[in-house]
Symmetry: C2
Subunit: 373 residues, 2 copies
Amino acid sequence: MNTAATYSLDTLPTPAVVLDGERAEQNIRRLADYAAQHGMGVRPHTKTHKSVEIARRQLAAGAVGLTVAKVGEAEALLPAFDDREPDILVAYPTVDSARASHVADLANHCTMRVALDTPAAIAALAGAASRAGTTVGVLVDLDVGPGRTGVPNVDALVTLAEAVTHAPGLRLDGIFFYPGHIWNPPAEQTTPLKAVADTLAEACDRFDRQGLSRDIVSGGSTPTAYQSHLVPQATDVRPGTSVFNDLNTLRGGFCTHDDIAATVLATVVSDAVAGQVVLDAGSKTLTSDRCVPTPDSGYGFLPDYPEAVVTKLTEEHAQVDIRGCPKPPSVGERVTIIPNHICPCINLQDTVWWKEPDGSLRPLTIDARGRLS
Amino acid sequence: MNTAATYSLDTLPTPAVVLDGERAEQNIRRLADYAAQHGMGVRPHTKTHKSVEIARRQLAAGAVGLTVAKVGEAEALLPAFDDREPDILVAYPTVDSARASHVADLANHCTMRVALDTPAAIAALAGAASRAGTTVGVLVDLDVGPGRTGVPNVDALVTLAEAVTHAPGLRLDGIFFYPGHIWNPPAEQTTPLKAVADTLAEACDRFDRQGLSRDIVSGGSTPTAYQSHLVPQATDVRPGTSVFNDLNTLRGGFCTHDDIAATVLATVVSDAVAGQVVLDAGSKTLTSDRCVPTPDSGYGFLPDYPEAVVTKLTEEHAQVDIRGCPKPPSVGERVTIIPNHICPCINLQDTVWWKEPDGSLRPLTIDARGRLS
């Protein structure tokens, strides 16, 4: 796929991820404008795209820094900062010496922060930072609802923050939260986000009274992105998926069809079984992730064949029930799929294709793919 | 990860896929011995490992050729044949000119066969083979139950085979089938495999009477691998997963625990939420594939913590319910996970780690990863 050949949508080998460049740029700008309007920073989560070019576009639109899940991703995306000092948040606890040392090494050259939630992570990172003779910023992680990471209450958060202030090589920079449990339609997010805001207000108050730094209060998700102002304590937000969107965000009511900037181009390879066509985009392209708001809707959506249902994926085959289609796609035809979840799809690609306004396709490298730790 | 550093299981950066070399070699030999005993060939499906080294081991054990899902994989695995003439079956219909031309180009240098099920695929491949001045072997695909690809009955198969014999550049080599619908325990496979055998007997009889070649009748799957003799018409079998096994094959009763040759090594990164630990192996490592025989058993199994349940995966987090564990794993500890489905896990790795009998780890490149079409 890393060929210099000039492809069009009619000739690009399939399966392939195609980015609508104008829409991606528009999604980046829209979030930047919203955040600026509310006096918040954007620290986009790059797990969605893992691309230097996309990260560079996000920074050009005003992002205050980048968020990554893996330390290896931080390293791969450093070139996106160009002449600016890199500012990277690792939104993942670095409890092992390999990751902690990697963070500390990078901190010698740029601003590195880690979100963490255990004394073990503090010890690992403090040890690594001390050995490297550097300082790493820390955000302490408060669970506001998802129950994935984060300490359960403000008392525990304050205890964790105090431990950070006593650890060598670490600098307490503030609070980290993730409202990943909120998938309500935007109009119904007021109550759950008010609960998050109340918890954060209590946390900020305690931090202030005890003299604990909280220059950064970092939150946000794609579903809640444009309601982030309902949590006024947040200084920055970290949406990932909103740069491209997918069926999760479309069906959740978090974007419109015109905001879908990433799709999978696939070819119909078989119609031998009655009532069905098979596409060359299986679980090794679309992943087995279900659509969160509509878990029984199948494995993606074909906008040109809205009655079609992707009923089953195996590794290289998508079985599509076309019995409801007035005119189903035929063998050899290319079809567009909106994936349920775009982030793991892009993670399966070495290269995706950026579509320019004139329809031409340009290869875009997924620079941070395969950085596992 | 492609470092020359010497790692042990205590120092290998996580998450990582670790292969037990002795077990993998044993799995390869066992299938080879079984097939030899029953006078069948093995044409292993390399989609599981995508590795030149593993393919070379399978060929050394007597495999008659290799099976691939993608033409790009065929190309990547050619070195496995060393001095022997490559013999590759593309178990996937090549209906588009790009794939068909790629097959034809390779056919100029080695034996290439394609399984197909539509006149469109015949036309595409015949055109490409003619343009390249070469001959491509064809197996016609009969649906024996899975309803994924393959024509529905013997009449349609004979029609398809006759079309192949009239197409320039193509050589009819026989019949392709995939008993992928059979997930019964081995002791309960007799009846469904008898039905497959009856259909194939009818097909072979018709082929013989009409003078259609069927030198190859290729079938098999991992669940049915060691019952393949119940389909005596098959000349070769194409199991993929059996080289490593996974929770699907273990829970299905198709292997024992001692046959599990591939596991994921992960680190506990958080225990901040009560009753739970979080591992650094999310859906970007384990995939969201469920266990076919036990779909509600979670996303993998921790053999050292059998009471633990991997309840939820997000991209980089596995949430593990440890409330049933007498002594749960602690933060920083490394744990072993048997994935539900090993094939898409390995597809996410650039490098996996081959464990030698002395415990040392050697990097093994996933050569054909990322070959999309």
